[in-house]
Subunit: 406 residues, 2 copies
């Protein structure tokens, strides 16, 4: 049986346990359990300090000179840092900027244009909404067709399912590495190879995996990836997303939002758009420098502890959550909507029950904060560096208490 | 003759003079004159404090609940506030989010699609680079033609010039309210009426005017406007842009980047994109909440002092700059590249000389900070609330000293 004692023992053995105190609010008596770091990571204390000094020092004293001194290159230097530390990406293949949605739009457009004559985009029905809405619009504007994989909402896309739909018409395969709902961890190398065998490009949405699951984009032969920095990279609400484009592919891709920051010579301000070589061409407007500040600290922390340790802790946390839920009476009919094997899931666990919408609202008022995904899912997001096993236990106990009252 | 004494007298009579101390760095001994607030406004001290507390309080303690409590609506509530205080826009017509470039892309696409059968976009050759690069790309992807107005780089687009190119083929007219190079202040009501007479929509780029020049979008009958918040709205490097869409037009426009934040029911996460009614449909991905913090303080300050007082100070500053430059020996051949009449320009003054590239670099090292625009332009940006006449005088003296040495 999962228990508080077991949670305490797991924390005592956790080599990352002491890192939790680095986060703002880890000692907040009003938040018993924060189980939504997969939607919005907690701020590091270092980031709170960095944001304060950013305004008074970098912005306030360097003023416009900051662009020459650091900010103009920050989308690429910070991109390289994210790439090296979390994506298995050699330098020169990652840029930070725009929202996930906008970066996905630009890269999906670029990818389908790079496969002229191919008329289909493959996507799954349980991909994140923004991914689905985007390809709908792009298919309509580019005269393409969508091939939907009807994916299991408690699992994800298997190699066999992808095999069944890709072919000579496929321009692009768009999939998520970790499913936002089920937490299913896709087999990126296998699925990428299948897409490539058909001659298609593949774009991985790594929003729900990056910085919680080890990623090796270079080794896996991925073409393009887009990911989010406000979840496990703790960049703050609405912090900018990043895009990875395999080096050999970069100069073959043209994205449609031709802005000055993607120009080969932005400060000439001359006539005619000419895309910069390399990753800069995927930028458009002025990047959100303020929004890039907080995540720098998280990347530093991840570099220090390493992705292997983070993944190990993530597995311990999700395993403990599943074990605790398994102990609840079968008569409650709470169902696990996440793969049962730790190696087949990311860092969140989803459980389902018809009362979870109302229970989540009540829990939030009590400082126990999972999130709710329609129609019946409660997601327990277990951000490895900021979540303890005791915190998770306390959160699960609060859920259990609500279920008891039904 | 312009003089330090005159500058001191102007400051003594300036009803806004005391506001300058509200800005970080106004007492910085290393920055003699900051004359680039039109590229990047100084931070308010209140914003430095707000950014610090944002991480520890709102983000760190409300965590994901912040989205329900405030952030989900912030693009619209802050948009309304910008609209009321600086744009002459009634509530429900302004949204904040994305970069200027991305918002321009979305709205240009939406606008040309709303005028089917019309095949031309009118734009001027001295519009800001991003505007020009964008329409190039959009024209190519939508099979449209660009009609270029060859605008005077020391002036801007006149009603007669626009009359000459608009017609039954014109889908959209894209112009800047204040020209980024010359500072020319366009006659928005007259130009808008000309565009409308031809049946075209008009999109005003107000990046270089908003919060320094009074704007009355509702009264002027403007269809769409996009503007920047890191110049005279002091939002910090890369803070998000805003978009205004006239109420009656909103539900006729569909923008192409269909993301979850623009969906009618974003948290249903259901199949199929259905745009939200009103301004929310112009959002795409998760908006930069961190990036919206600083500009809130500036909007509050502008509301307190009023746009009329800001414009009055702006005119005094630009008039003093022109007067001082006029006093320089004619043999130096420094040329004014901005309209001579204060009512025909915004809040920056551009002067030209072949040595200004090297002089600007030297001035930056000395803490005198104008900016340089190729090929020979030095822009003196005079942000009304954070710039004093003495500061401007000191900056001009530093320029003069460099010119003397040539």
């Amino acid at each position: 049986m999962a228990s508080l004692v077991e949670a305490e023992q797991l924390d005592a053995r956790d080599p990352l346990a002491s890192r939790r105190e680095l986060f703002v609010g880890s000692d907040d008596p009003h938040v018993t359990a924060y189980l939504d770091g997969n939607s919005l990571g907690r701020p590091l204390r270092a980031s709170a300090a960095r944001l304060a000094s950013f305004a008074s020092d970098a912005w306030g004293s360097r003023l416009i000179r900051g662009w020459d001194e650091e900010w103009f290159d920050l989308p690429l230097t910070l991109g390289d840092r994210i790439g090296t530390v979390t994506l298995g990406a050699a330098a020169g293949q990652v840029a930070v900027g725009d929202s996930t949605t906008v970066l996905l739009y630009k890269l999906i457009r670029a990818a389908v244009d790079a496969r002229p004559g191919r008329t289909e985009i493959v996507v799954d029905t349980d991909n994140f909404p923004t991914d689905r809405y985007l390809v709908e619009g792009i298919a309509a504007e580019r005269g393409l067709e969508l091939r939907w994989i009807e994916s299991d909402t408690r699992g994800g896309v298997s190699p066999a399912e992808l095999e069944a739909v890709v072919g000579t018409k496929t321009a692009l395969v768009l999939l998520s590495h970790v499913a936002y709902r089920s937490g299913f961890l896709a087999d990126v190398p296998a699925l990428t190879a299948i897409a490539h065998d058909s001659g298609a490009l593949v774009l991985w949405d790594v929003c729900h995996s990056v910085a919680s699951v080890p990623i090796e984009l270079d080794d896996w032969g991925v073409d393009i990836a887009v990911g989010c920095t406000y979840k496990y990279l703790n960049g703050g609400p609405g912090s900018p997303a990043f895009v990875y484009v395999r080096r050999e592919l970069q100069d073959q891709l043209s994205q449609p939002i031709q802005g000055w920051m993607g120009h080969a010579a932005p400060f000439d301000m001359g006539p005619g758009y000419s895309p910069a070589p390399g990753m800069r061409r995927f930028l458009s407007g002025t990047p959100s420098i303020v929004g890039m500040q907080a995540l720098r600290d998280m990347v530093d922390l991840i570099a220090e502890v390493g992705m292997a340790a983070i993944r190990a802790k993530s597995e311990t946390l999700t395993r403990f959550a599943v074990e605790a839920v398994d102990d609840w009476p079968a008569s409650w009919a709470v169902e696990l909507a996440t793969p049962r094997e730790a190696e087949r899931r990311g860092s969140h666990v989803t459980i389902e029950h018809p009362a979870f919408k109302q229970i989540t609202a009540e829990l939030w008022r009590r400082g126990v904060i999972p999130d709710f995904r329609a129609p019946h899912g409660m997601r327990l997001g277990l951000s490895p560096l900021s979540t303890s096993h005791v915190e998770l236990w306390n959160g699960l106990e609060a859920v259990r208490e609500q279920l008891v009252r039904l």
